[in-house]
Amino acid sequence: MQIYLPIAEVSVNIFLLLGLGGIVGVLSGMFGVGGGFLMTPLLFFIGIPPAVAVATEANQIVASSFSGVLAHLKRKTVDLRMGTVLLIGGLVGSGLGITLFNYLKALGQVELLVQLCYVVFLGMIGSMMFIESLNAIRRASKPGGSVPKRRKHNWVHNLPFKMKFRVSGLYISVIPPLMVGVLVGVLAAIMGVGGGFIMVPAMIYLLGMPTKVVVGTSLFQIIFVTAFTTMLHATTNFTVDVVLAVLLLVGGVIGAQIGTRIGVKMKAEQLRIWLAIMVLAVCGKLAFDLLVMPNELYSLGTGGHS
């Protein structure tokens, strides 16, 4: 059954969309990731215009993170103070990202920007995760292996404007969390992702936050930043397709429930290595498209004199 998407202005099979939402949902449930970084490239592959894919995905992330953050608020695993600092950075970053996005759209280079961002970030995260989980598996098989110690103090602790974050038990400068927030905001605007895959490692390794508050706090920041991004895309580009978002979401929510149940039955190291392989595969496909001569050298953009 085909459905005509009013904003994307293409006709797509409704079950394909529900299925895509479902598959990405299963994966995000299994691995505990947002899934935006998988969904947006998949939307490109099925022919949704990149600008619509990015904006709509931002809308979808708000909704899929919403129930997650409620659960974390109930368990009091959200550092609201840290979340707010990250959020301020995120809003600034999102604004910057949209400006860059619209500027490059006028130049006809926005697809390149989005693809390059994906290749770089997916490549980095994918290989880091792959190596880390390989090492973890190797350590697990060698019982005598020592666990590397994390440095407690690094350059982060020598910056000015210190602030107390009670829930996280930290007394650090606000500059690093602001910077992390800005970076995540830019990525949300350009790539249509929540940015959890950047923020979570940054919070653990760079800011030294305790793992139990990391996910809730990042979800808290993601909701507001993606909501802001959605509004910016909706008001400047008119590219948020609510029909597309709802279809992906319904598939995604159901998929996530199934994925969580599968995830419980699998080993953490195995899960991570599969996630790494998947991330690298998406990255590889995007890189391949950039490197290999395309079948059609020409492409059409909307006219106008921008």
């Binding site: 005509y4 006809g108 390149l112 609510v242 429930q257 395309p294 020409y298 953009g301 006219g303 106008g304």
Partner: protein, 249 residues
């Protein structure tokens, strides 16, 4: 304008021996939520004062043109090992949809001069006036090729069937990715490669119902639309997870 002149000229012919009488399968195409393309049947008859005594071959040309929109055609080139958009050409006159159907190959029923005046053929209908690049031709060809593969540009030689020099009919498929607007259908009658009659009519293509409403809201009141999208998405996400957990129990 040129078409109007051609029309006036054809009207000014002393005794109009042959005339088109037209029928359309529909004069409106509604884009609904389940819209998956459509087709239009154009049929008609050739009315004559007397028996066929006009010499020369009969030609019937049917064109349908969607609303004009300028389009930027970009070309990729290899830079630093990756393929990026480099050159671009602005095509000023590019209908969002263009189909030309004829009863015989176009060059057998229309002189090049008439084509130049009326801009019937695909190559004439699409032009880039202000293009400065030397190879603007390859850009317009690319436009025709890309839109052709999407079913937006069609040349259907021998698509019009003519019965007994009096009745004609043609079926023109419309793809799913239509742009809204007034589509102009023109039916030309030619004898000896000269146009002797022209009939023009419009077909309205528009989004209806929910599609119409969402599209309008998104463009006229984007702030409200954004808020609505967010709340609908949150409600849908919440609802789906609540429904799923209720179902599990």
């Amino acid at each position: 304008m040129i078409r109007l002149v051609a029309l006036l000229l054809s009207l000014a012919l002393p005794a109009k021996a042959e005339e088109i009488v037209l029928g359309l399968s529909k004069d409106e195409v509604a884009i609904t939520a389940t819209f998956d393309g459509s087709e239009i049947l154009i049929f008609g008859a050739i009315k004559r004062d007397g028996p066929v005594e006009v010499p020369g071959d009969l030609g019937v040309i049917v064109t349908i043109a969607g609303p004009d929109e300028p389009v930027t055609v970009r070309k990729k080139d290899r830079r630093l090992g990756i393929w990026v958009n480099t050159e671009s050409v602005e095509v000023d006159v590019a209908p969002t949809f263009y189909a030309v159907a004829t009863n015989r190959p176009l060059d057998e029923i229309l002189t090049p001069a008439e084509d130049l005046n009326t801009r019937i053929s695909m190559q004439r209908a699409i032009r880039s006036i202000g293009a400065t690049a030397d190879n603007a031709q390859s850009f317009t060809e690319a436009l025709i090729r890309i839109r052709g593969s999407q079913g937006l540009y069609q040349t259907i030689p021998e698509g019009v069937s003519v019965a007994e020099e009096a009745l004609f009919r043609v079926l023109i498929p419309l793809p799913a990715n239509l742009t809204e607007g007034d589509y102009v259908a023109e039916i030309y009658l030619t004898r000896d490669k000269q146009i002797i009659d022209l009939y023009t009519t419009t077909i309205a293509v528009k989004k209806v119902g929910l599609e119409r409403w969402l599209y309008n809201l998104a463009h006229e009141n984007p702030f409200l639309y954004g808020l609505m999208s967010l709340s609908i998405a949150i409600a849908a996400g919440w609802g789906a997870s609540a429904a799923f957990s209720a179902f599990r129990r």
